[in-house]
């Protein structure tokens, strides 16, 4: 898997690499995140930012909701980063945070009051990515249709399967056994197949 294959980013390497591009790094921040951790987090985020978009895509059909969710995931990842201890790979850690935020967001969608600012104001522009995924072929529409019929927990399984995680890795993110993951993924495969058999190519 691409994300997991990345070499582990060390604190000092990230810090040195980014200090040059961030002239005032280290001069201002508020607890609990130190300047070093913030710089380090942003360096890691740069190489894993796709995770936020992909999780949001699977949990939100509406573009505005997707932007809200990316924002929430981004903030939660940043706030949680000081607890990241390297025991799991950064990508695994980030999937956990993002999926947890997405499930909470998904469950309270009706009750939420939008009070967020445009995502571009955060320095993260996902418009082109939206266009990429919205310009979907038949297969992506079929995937969308499958996902829409799944609950919040099975969406996480599908996402991680599509990302190329194996059963053990999915189990580590979701918190269930690897055999349970395998069985559930097989069921989802069967479900998809049954839908195709009954409907033909989804529209």
């Amino acid at each position: 898997m691409e994300a997991n294959a990345k070499p582990k980013v060390t604190h000092s390497a990230t810090q040195n690499a980014l200090r040059e591009s961030l002239p005032n790094a280290g001069q201002e921040t508020t607890p609990p995140m130190t300047p070093t951790l913030t710089v380090e987090f942003l360096a890691r985020l740069e190489s894993h930012k796709r995770i936020l978009f992909k999780v949001a895509y699977l949990y939100c059909r509406d573009r505005d909701d997707r932007q809200d969710l990316v924002q929430e995931m981004l903030i939660q990842c940043w706030r949680s980063y000081e607890r990241f201890d390297g025991r799991v790979q950064f990508s695994t850690w980030m999937y956990r945070v993002a999926v947890n935020v997405a499930i909470s967001h998904f469950r309270h969608e009706g009750a939420r009051i939008r009070d967020t600012v445009p995502l571009e104001d955060y320095g993260l522009d996902i418009a082109a990515a939206d266009a990429l995924f919205d310009d979907a072929g038949d297969n992506m529409r079929a995937l969308r249709q499958l996902i829409d019929g799944l609950d919040e927990l099975n969406r996480a399984l599908i996402l991680l399967f599509l990302e190329g995680f194996n059963s053990e890795e999915i189990a580590a993110v979701v918190g269930i056994s690897a055999s349970n993951v395998s069985t559930r993924i097989n069921r989802l495969k069967t479900k998809l197949q049954a839908e195709f058999n009954s409907q033909g190519q989804p529209t």
Partner: protein, 229 residues
């Protein structure tokens, strides 16, 4: 055509590669915004805690003083003690639940964290429900008894009618608890107009708790090893 989940995975990974170049990130702007947002959010959180404590302190001090001066008068001591216990309990539960939410570790495995969130939600909803149901009882006649007594007026002796009025009001307040529970359950899902009022009746009826418990059950079922069954 025979489409499988593995085909979709291939399609997904192909788009993933294009996604890398589509998503743009301005690191400097993002860093500044995160710091600014974090500062504003923490400010609101601190203000919430401090304002609840500041609001509660005068009541705690007043009830404490009142209790100390009316230890030999059970008719006034009991309402004051109940009010004091209610106030302390609400303050403690509020702080405990807020700090519980702040301490949530979103990097824990999904099933574990979602279960924790749901437990906190159930605790908050239950607190709200019983704060309202007991509050309507305590913060009416018992509170008036204590306040007037502190001002030197014994409400029991104001008129011959007053003891009966007090007794009836307390009885009504107690009877209101099962009535409110029953009425809320009756109204759940029937109010189309006000979302806030609907939320309120959901809270009293406990339907939000039911939803939260159902999700906990769903998490437990999801966690069960289906392969072993």
């Amino acid at each position: 055509m025979n489409l499988t989940l593995d085909d979709l995975k291939t399609e997904w990974l192909a788009r993933d590669r294009q996604l890398e170049s589509s998503l743009r990130m301005n690191t400097l702007l993002l860093r500044e915004t995160l710091l600014e947002k974090h500062g504003a959010r923490m400010g609101r959180v601190r203000a919430g805690d401090v304002s609840q404590i500041l609001f509660t302190i005068p009541f705690l001090a007043f009830f404490g003083w009142f209790i100390a001066h009316h230890l030999d008068q059970p008719a006034f001591l009991i309402p004051a003690v109940l009010l004091q216990v209610w106030t302390v309990a609400m303050l403690a539960l509020g702080i405990q639940q807020r700090s519980g939410l702040r301490a949530l570790d979103y990097s824990r495995p999904v099933v574990a964290l979602q279960g924790e969130i749901e437990q906190i939600k159930i605790a908050r909803l239950t607190t709200f429900k019983w704060a309202f149901l007991t509050g309507q009882l305590l913060w009416w006649i018992p509170f008036l008894l204590v306040v007037f007594k502190a001002l030197g007026v014994d409400l029991f002796t104001v008129s011959a009618f007053m003891p009966r009025f007090i007794a009836w009001n307390i009885a009504f307040g107690i009877a209101f608890i099962p009535f409110a529970l029953w009425a809320s359950k009756l109204l759940v899902g029937r109010l189309g107009g006000s979302a806030r009022f609907q939320k309120f009746t959901d809270g009293i009826a406990g339907s939000d708790v039911v939803v939260a418990r159902e999700f906990l059950g769903k998490l437990a079922r999801f966690e069960q090893d289906v392969a072993a069954r």
